[in-house]
Amino acid sequence: MKKEILKLRGVKVHFPVQAGVFNRVVGHVLAVDGVDLDIFRGEVLGLAGESGCGKTTLGKAILRLVEPTDGEVKYISQDDDETELTSLEKKDMDPFRKKLQIVFQDPHSSLNPSFTIFGSLQDPLKKFGIKSKEERRKIIGDLLEAVNMRREYMDRYPHEFSGGQRQRIGIVRALCLEPELIVCDEAVSALDVSIQAQVLKLLMQLKKEKNLTYLFITHDLSVTEYLCDRIAVMYLGRIVELCVSEDLYNNTLHPYSEALISAIPVADLDKQTKRIVLEGDVPSPVNPPKGCPFHPRCPKATDICKTEVPTLKKYSTNGNEHYASCHLIDLPEIT
């Protein structure tokens, strides 16, 4: 029986756009515009989409690094206690900060250059009640060994490490309070391919050992294919397709996902893939197009797409739940 760890309901993050002398608000960037998503305990949920579609903002909104404008983020503990996170006071948030952590994209800015590794990792531990220095050193040392690094490295400065090593230190930081969910925000995108594989393997191994749940944010669908149990595809701040990962590749429902998948490079010269090239750019999230937000670029768009906003509907492919928001799907909707 799958149990949820996070339930997102209608999460919106709007950033005001200011202009003029008095910083009048002239509009909003709809970075995340109404996302419903359940994350189950122990799964790896991929969140894919091109740049600027709101993936990172959604990840940060979960941790309240960005305050959601609207909507609910519910955390469900192992004893089935539900807590709504967005309405909590700052200090009431602390016990949940321990459960939810994040690994960042850029290994070069994710570590404080003025502190040794131990120096920058010890404050969170101190805050969450590990008083003795020996104990803190032990925890960090053990975790460094868990990510295949040497214990002594904790007394070194970040500039002494390579990108892959820094990323692993970033993972140590996320792990140090024994979280349940880790948001991996493009955690391997800045690394080169061989190091990517190494870090991904490490992440999967840690997941097994520590019973973690990952929200894996990426723009690279070739990574998610091997990693994720389910994949959500985002476009312009909304989820357009959500399904088990094999179904996304084999029974794609949404034309946008189709285009994304066709863009994955295949290391096979004989294989002819039909490349769907999308015209133009992602429309401005300040005033998204009327109707389906994807219709100006969609190769299949019809008249209904220009007027009506499609909702996320439930279908079934291969006996799995498959959500998609498109007017042109001819599968029967499940209610």
Binding site: K60, L63, L65, K90, K91, M93, D94, R97, L100, Q101, I102, F104, Q105, D106, S109, S110, L111, N112, P113, S114, F115, S120, D123, P124, K127, F128, Y157, H159, G170, R173, L177
Partner: protein, 304 residues
């Protein structure tokens, strides 16, 4: 074949490694880097000498800086009076030493205090942003838009000349620059991912901005402190020269220079203003060297 100098160096390193003297040497990286900068070390040495000489002035000179001795007026430099004597027979060397106490105190004190104020406000406002930032920015603009000299004139005419008035004015007009520097650094630093990571742990604003972010913002501020120390010493000298700074009876470098207003002294008695002018320039130069050295050595991304 003769060994090249590189080989010799390598042999030395190997020898030291065998003797395990490497591990015993535990000097901090920053100190090491600073000591490798020759100009900075030179600056530091002269800076220390001048400060020590000012502090231990009574031990170095048998004269009283305030005592008028009409029998030895306007004497040129000699073994008795190293820098000669002034129009009332006071020993110029002694006055330079004692003057250093006040001048350095004003310069360093105002620079450090204004930096403390500027950093405290700038870090918090820069990190927090929002209305706190807007208010702090406007206040600093108001203070910076006042010309120093008018503030000095105002305060001097209201409360009379005093050392602390001068320092208060320096701090009031000086903190704005420091504030802006700190704020600008914080604005760029707060988007760094390590700051986001700290926030995701829910650490307090104070820990994040003063403990974790401030060290990364410090190097330009350090340079600014030294620069403004120099500037404040010069401004003090300038104001005292005009008779607006420290009361004339207290010897400061500026007050000693004050005599050069008299064209007769300027032309005939170079020792009354020459040495003190040189001391001011050398001191200011040294402080700048130290500032440069500090900036290079505290920058953690520069290796060496």
């Amino acid at each position: 074949m003769a060994k090249s100098s590189l080989d010799k160096k390598f042999d030395q390193i190997r020898k030291r490694e065998e003797e395990k003297t490497f591990s015993t040497k535990k000097r901090s990286r920053i100190v090491n880097k600073f000591l490798n900068n020759r100009l900075a070390v030179l600056g530091l040495i002269i800076f220390t000498i001048i400060i020590l000489a000012s502090i231990f002035a009574p031990l170095l000179s048998p004269y009283d800086p305030m005592r008028v001795d009409l029998r030895s007026m306007r004497q040129p430099p000699s073994f008795d009076h190293w820098f000669g004597t002034d129009s009332t027979g006071r020993d110029v060397f002694t006055r330079v030493l004692f003057g250093g106490r006040v001048s350095i105190f004003i310069g360093l004190g105002s620079a450090i205090l204004s930096a403390v104020v500027g950093i405290a406000v700038g870090c918090y406002a820069g990190y927090k942003g929002g209305w706190i930032d807007v208010i702090a920015l406007r206040i600093s603009e108001i203070f910076m838009s006042f010309p120093q000299i008018i503030l000095v004139l105002l305060l001097v005419s209201i409360t009379g000349q005093s050392l602390f008035n001068l320092m208060a004015i320096f701090i009031l007009t000086g903190w704005g620059g420091m504030y802006r520097l700190a704020r600008a650094r914080m604005l760029s630093l707060r988007e760094e991912e390590y700051v986001q990571a700290l926030r995701s742990f829910g650490l307090s604003t104070f820990t994040i901005c003063y403990k974790h972010m401030l060290p990364n913002a410090l190097s330009p501020i350090m340079v600014n402190i030294t620069l403004s120390t120099a500037m404040f010493i010069l401004t003090e000298a300038g104001l005292s020269f005009l008779g607006l700074g420290v009361p004339l009876n207290i010897p400061t470098w500026g007050n000693i220079l004050n005599v050069a207003q008299d064209i007769l002294i300027l032309q005939n008695y170079w020792w009354m203003w020459g040495p003190v002018g040189i001391v001011i320039s050398v001191f200011v130069l040294c402080v700048n060297f130290i500032g440069d050295g500090l900036r290079d050595s505290t920058d953690p991304s520069q290796q060496g």
